[in-house]
């Protein structure tokens, strides 16, 4: 479905992503992990058209995407959520989602926009009444709104950016189940970028690990968790993630110590 080859992004003299290739198959959930600054968000930004790649190609359903404007990529069927929710606060919850539904799909139709907004809000469990304001939502609610906006654009592929930062553990599990439900019920393919590995490993079909802009591992969750390079990257840098690696290996699910 998505074929990425030799993707490179340079910012001046700094290479944020150097020659990353990967494939995503129809209907799978691919986890994308790596320490801070490893190039995960840069890859997402290139996939969604925020900036063009310096080199390499992104082919989606056989069509080249690199160089297309962001709104064209959305219209091709790639939705995106942000790590930090960015709703329009002066619009209601429904208006936010319906706006995405109206412009996100190729045929601009009011009835379709409102129908897809209602479906998306129902899917994530937010109220579908027209007037509910954004200001009443907490961190978990804002994440749901972000997801509903992306769903309303009618994506075939969903780029979910670190969806769980700032949530407590029950909310994390809920959100992870939500992504699985979106794949199972709507048939939407998902790439999921996440810091918190434990919960990600439980849901994804495959994992890709980045470090310093390079792909260092790719495979099934339990394979990747045992990969010595992955362990090395995570051991030295992030105790939080190390616990998650341990958890994914089948050890006791040690929660992050707070």
């Amino acid at each position: 479905m998505l074929v990425v080859e030799g993707l490179v992004k340079r910012f001046g003299g700094f290479t944020a992503v150097s020659g990353v290739s990967f494939k995503v198959d129809q209907g799978e959930i691919l986890g994308l992990i790596g320490p801070n600054g490893s190039g995960k968000s840069t890859i997402f930004n290139m996939l969604s058209g925020t900036f063009p790649p310096s080199a390499g190609s992104i082919r989606f359903e056989g069509h080249e995407l690199s160089g297309l404007a962001p709104h064209r990529i959305i219209n091709r069927g790639i939705g995106r959520t942000f790590q930090i929710p960015r709703p329009f606060r002066r619009l209601s919850i429904f208006e936010n989602v319906a706006l995405a539904g109206y412009f996100g799909q190729n045929r601009h139709s009011r009835a379709r926009a409102e129908a897809s907004a209602e479906r998306a809000l129902g899917m994530v469990g937010l109220p579908t009444d027209r007037g509910a304001p954004v200001d009443g939502l907490g961190a978990a609610g804002l994440k749901k709104l972000e997801l509903a906006k992306a769903l309303a654009t009618g994506p075939k592929l969903l780029l979910a950016d670190e969806s769980l930062g700032g949530l407590d553990e029950a909310e994390m599990d809920q959100a992870a189940d939500m992504l699985r439900k979106i794949r199972d019920e709507l048939g939407i393919t998902i790439i999921w970028v996440e810091h918190i590995m434990g919960v990600l490993m439980r849901v994804v079909d495959r994992v890709m690990v980045l470090d310093h802009g390079e792909k260092i591992a790719e495979g099934l969750p339990h394979e990747v968790a045992h990969d010595p390079r992955v362990v090395e990257v995570y051991l030295g840098t992030d105790a939080h993630a190390t616990q998650a690696v341990a958890a994914a290996r089948g050890g006791p699910a040690a929660g992050p110590g707070r």
Partner: protein, 293 residues
């Protein structure tokens, strides 16, 4: 003594009502400018010159080519709407990420360009479309039909824009885009198209204003100088980009001008209004309806 009070009250009422009529037209002028500033974050210094071009459009279509008013008016509105979109496409879009001062200077340049263009193309003579509308007498009060018509049309224009902004998704996008341009794109919205539509609407409002002003004033290449400053003062008084603030400020300004004119000459009305503006800039520098920091 009693009869004096009676007459005075009639004049006062007449002045208040005329102030409301003037306020409607000023509010229409302010709305276009506020729309552009609120959505695109750019100030069209040459806004009043677009109105001037629209007034010439009316003059030529109506007086020279003898089209009926109700045919000439929509054509003039279309002309200025196209001009607004062209202004955005040629001047604003290349400067969108430039510092505000560059955008001001560029649209300021367009102001002089349009003034000079009009001088060369149309000459410096004062032109009048020659529509003389009667005076409406209610009791002892007099109202000009031109002003009533202008007020009504301005109101219709403003309501139309309001409904468009509230009831359509393009309007919703226009209201929201100022907050986050990047997110708009990721919801599938082509920001450039939204800006172009907004500029065309801003131009159309200037065109509508032109169709109405031409009933009351002669057109000449420098008429923008008598429309522009007061429009900018109203927008700043209401808080640039604040639609409701601009609306309130328009009627406030119009009443000060109208009532000031009642007690003395019309010019003193303007002096009072501008004095009020200077005072308010000290009291509420961010505009009438600005939230306190």
């Amino acid at each position: 003594m009693e009869s004096f009070l009676e007459i005075f009250d009639i004049y006062l009422l007449e002045a208040v009502l005329n102030g409301i009529l003037l306020g409607g037209v000023l509010a229409l002028l302010a709305l276009g400018l506020n729309l552009i500033f609120g959505v695109i974050d750019v100030t069209w210094i040459c806004y009043a010159e677009l109105i001037m071009i629209g007034m010439y459009g009316m003059y030529y279509l109506f007086s020279v080519y003898h089209l009926p008013y109700w045919v000439a008016a929509p054509l003039s509105i279309l002309l200025v709407a196209a001009l607004g979109a062209l202004l955005h496409f040629l001047v604003i879009e290349p400067l969108l990420s430039s510092p505000p001062i560059n955008q001001l200077l560029a649209t300021g340049g367009v102001l002089f360009f349009l003034q000079s263009f009009a001088t060369v193309a149309f000459g410096i003579e004062f032109r009048n479309v020659g529509i003389k509308l009667p005076i409406l007498a209610v009791g002892e009060m007099n109202f000009s039909y031109a002003r009533l018509l202008a007020f009504g049309a301005a109101l219709v224009g403003m309501v139309a824009v309001y409904v468009f902004m509230r009831k359509t998704y393009v309007g919703t996008a226009i209201r929201a885009i100022a907050q986050d341009r990047q997110i708009m794109a990721l919801m599938g919205v082509d920001a450039r198209r939204i800006y172009l539509i907004t500029s065309a609407i801003g131009g159309a409002l200037a065109g509508l204003a032109a169709c109405l002003l031409v009933l009351m004033y002669d057109v000449h290449p420098f008429i923008g100088l008598s429309i522009g400053p007061i429009t900018f003062l109203i927008c700043v008084l209401g808080g640039l980009g604040n639609f409701v603030g601009g609306f309130v400020a328009s009627f406030l300004f119009a009443e000060i001008i109208s009532l000031g004119g009642l007690f003395s000459d019309l010019e003193w009305g303007y002096v009072l209004a501008f004095g009020f503006f200077i005072l308010m800039m000290f009291v509420r520098p961010a505009g009438l309806l600005a939230r306190r920091a």
